[in-house]
């Protein structure tokens, strides 16, 4: 299991398009991805779930990867967060 706290750094926050990308990236891996914010934990492979977090700029969210390819999955997805969803 890999756990990591990440920050939302782009201006628009985690809006629909990056949410869709996260879900697509997560779906490529066998590992489960759970995302937690403000006590709500959602499945990182469900787009409605990711949107429910309504994570604005500056907020931080908690990622939990679990499964056989968790290393790869976490690298890919954390990298996408760190790139500010390519919107910087």
């Amino acid at each position: 299991m890999i756990e990591k706290e990440v920050k939302i750094i782009n201006d628009a926050g985690l809006h629909t398009r990056p949410a869709a990308t996260i879900v697509k990236l997560a779906a490529k891996f066998k590992s489960d991805l759970q995302i937690t914010k403000d006590g709500i934990t959602i499945n990182g492979k469900s787009i409605i779930g990711v949107m429910t977090l309504a994570a604005e700029k500056g907020s931080s969210i908690h990622l939990t990867f679990e499964g056989e390819d968790e290393e790869e999955a976490s690298e890919t997805i954390i990298d996408y967060f760190n790139r500010g969803f390519d919107e910087l």
């Binding site: 759970q34 934990t41 492979k45 469900s46 787009i47 779930g49 949107m51 429910t52 908690h62």
Partner: protein
């Protein structure tokens, strides 16, 4: 498969008096007795307290951290005191860190009370409702606020009045089953993110989130809004959770129940909920099976357990010994249909 960790569980430690006031002023007919700064005080306890004894001077074991309700008894008692004594009694109470005071039955606050409330920055409310009614409403509200909640990935549907939660891996078809059920006249509570709140000791109430409401994602189509597409009859805001159904790809090594005699239960926030594992195989209509599960649940609820009845019939038959395997009717009298 339902993963519950500490992270999924939310439990509020306190709510501010301001939040309490905003949420309840219309519903419980509560008004502030005077302009006040103390609305940032916090409520930590879901119970209420009537401070009769404390007013009379006995403050041992006084539960100061509770919302203090002044009913007719407290007000009448204060009324027959002289102004100075009244001040003393109230001051003694207000020196504690109490969250707020509510006067019931539209009782008018005493001048001394207003004066001291301002001095101590303590919110004092007045409600039109009787003590019994207000106590019930406020307790119920606070119970709900302090109740543990858990967020779950799944779909909650009201099927013939039975609250059914579908869980399973992402992409297994939970949303599709929910949509199919809605098409057949059942009602969607929430898709994808379901928040379950514990009510009382053995009840879990499920609801969706404020943002997602009755939107859902269908793979290959995108977002749809079930409420505007199917209308008000197709949704509801909350439903008691009664059965959990886990969808999974058929696993030949896994044993699935064949008789229904032994119920399996899943424990969520210490509430035991009937739990059914449903394998998905080609040609199997999950929607119809979900309806059958709901109907069977209702039959059991109303006292008819098909599995037990058949078990008993067999037991009776075995006791009799002998006899051949007969048809359901011995003789089909001139029935050539």
């Amino acid at each position: 498969m339902i993963n519950i960790t500490e992270k999924n569980i939310i439990k509020k430690k306190s709510i501010s008096v301001e939040f309490f006031y905003k949420q309840t002023k219309d519903r419980f007919k509560i008004k502030l007795a005077c302009e006040n700064d103390g609305l940032d005080r916090l409520i930590y306890d879901q119970n209420l307290h009537r401070p009769g004894l404390a007013l009379a001077g006995f403050v041992d074991l006084f539960t100061a951290n509770r919302v203090q309700v002044f009913g007719n008894t407290e007000m009448r008692y204060l009324d027959q005191l002289k102004s100075d004594d009244r001040k003393l009694a109230l001051e003694r109470l207000f020196n504690f860190k109490i969250p707020c005071v509510i006067l019931t039955d539209a009782n008018k606050p005493f001048e001394e009370m207003i004066h001291l409330a301002k001095k101590h920055k303590l919110p004092v409310f007045v409600s039109e409702y009787s003590t019994t009614k207000l106590s019930y409403l406020v307790s119920d509200f606070l119970d709900d606020q302090f109740a543990p909640r858990v967020s779950i990935h799944g779909s909650l549907v009201d099927v013939y009045g039975v609250g059914m939660l579908f869980v399973g891996k992402s992409g297994i078809g939970k949303s599709e089953v929910a949509l199919d059920l809605v098409e057949r006249g059942h009602r969607l509570v929430a898709d994808d993110v379901v928040i379950l709140t514990k009510k009382g000791e053995g009840i879990l109430i499920g609801a969706g989130t404020e943002l997602a409401q009755h939107f859902m994602e269908v793979r290959g189509i995108g977002f749809i809004d079930v409420r505007s597409m199917f209308g008000i009859r197709a949704i509801r805001f909350q439903k008691r959770l009664e059965v959990i159904i886990e969808l999974e790809v058929w696993d030949k090594d896994n044993e699935y129940t064949r008789t229904g005699l032994d119920d399996s239960l899943f424990s969520l926030l210490d509430v035991e909920i009937p739990y059914i594992k449903l394998p998905i195989v080609p040609g199997k209509n999950i929607t119809v099976i979900a309806e059958v599960i709901a109907l069977n649940y209702l039959l059991k609820h109303y006292g008819y357990d098909a599995a037990k009845i058949l078990q008993e019939r067999l037991a009776q038959r075995l006791k009799k010994k002998g006899g051949e395997i007969g048809r359901v009717i011995d003789y089909f009298e001139h029935d050539f249909e």
